[in-house]
Symmetry: C2
Subunit: 203 residues, 2 copies
Amino acid sequence: MEIPEMKVREFVDEVASKSPTPGGGAVGATVAALGAALIEMVANLTIGKKGYEDYEAEMERIVAESEYRRKRLLESADDDIKAFDEVMKAFKLPKNTSEEKEERKKVLQESLKKACEVPYELAREISKLCPLAESVSKFGNKNAKSDAESAVALLEAAFSCALANVEINLKSIKDPEFVSSMREAVLELKGKVDKCVANCKQN
Amino acid sequence: MEIPEMKVREFVDEVASKSPTPGGGAVGATVAALGAALIEMVANLTIGKKGYEDYEAEMERIVAESEYRRKRLLESADDDIKAFDEVMKAFKLPKNTSEEKEERKKVLQESLKKACEVPYELAREISKLCPLAESVSKFGNKNAKSDAESAVALLEAAFSCALANVEINLKSIKDPEFVSSMREAVLELKGKVDKCVANCKQN
């Protein structure tokens, strides 16, 4: 069953089980979706409230964008599981002849790159949510301050989950160009997210 | 419907809605349960693995304790909603006569204390999970390193959710003794959690 359709209890049970999936990647995507949902809630609780008239249009925009992003994030929660399964399948390919060995190596490396790209995409999605979190932290309903703070903490954690999953797969990739360009891309995202999180915490 | 029985998609939708509950407190408890589940998974993936024989008993203990704690955490996810509802109910009490005003003030203050105690309990539960996270970070299966790192990030975020919810309720509490003893208790937990998180990140 796909994660969005599982009961919360079932999902937690599945994570805890002996099976390596769903793991940190899938959980990270789900937690990012929860972070986006909290941003949306704070924006919803700001719209129509006295004293917040100046931010009405901005909050309407945030509701629309965070709704779009949380749905995408939740749909992507299973991507990490699929990518991991492909790596496992590649590991099980035969390696009796030199042709088989070569083929196995190629398929494995491709599957590892994909397993890097899935959490990288998650990290990129989270980086796009950060400015929304900053906006609700600054201009959102002060009665929902704890929810805005919670949203920021969840995005930060989900970003850490994503980076940990990029990093663990990078370790097995033999293509130095892929590795260095992925590391550079991740560092760029991390710079953005760290800055945004610091701005949120000033409010 | 209670959170553990909701589908993941429904839960995310509920968080995003105009209603202030479920908010950061309920989400924090759920994310803490997911953190505990990842700890349990890493321990599960360590048991019976070559090279980890020395940690077998420790990992068995961690599986048992994190299972117990994640179930409690998930069961507690709705407590925050109930506590918030009591505060809202108190706000709506009549305040026409001085007796009514006095009674309303009393009930409101009691409900706010309860609304502080629920996230404080969450913070306390998370502080008990931290040593388990430290153990799987140090001694757990290195192939699941990203999952151990994800678990730590989630506990840290859930702890922030809990503290934000304690703090926002403390602001409306007029009993200086309650406020100072709660702040002290929170600071003590924060010291423990911060230290544990720093230790985890060294691995």
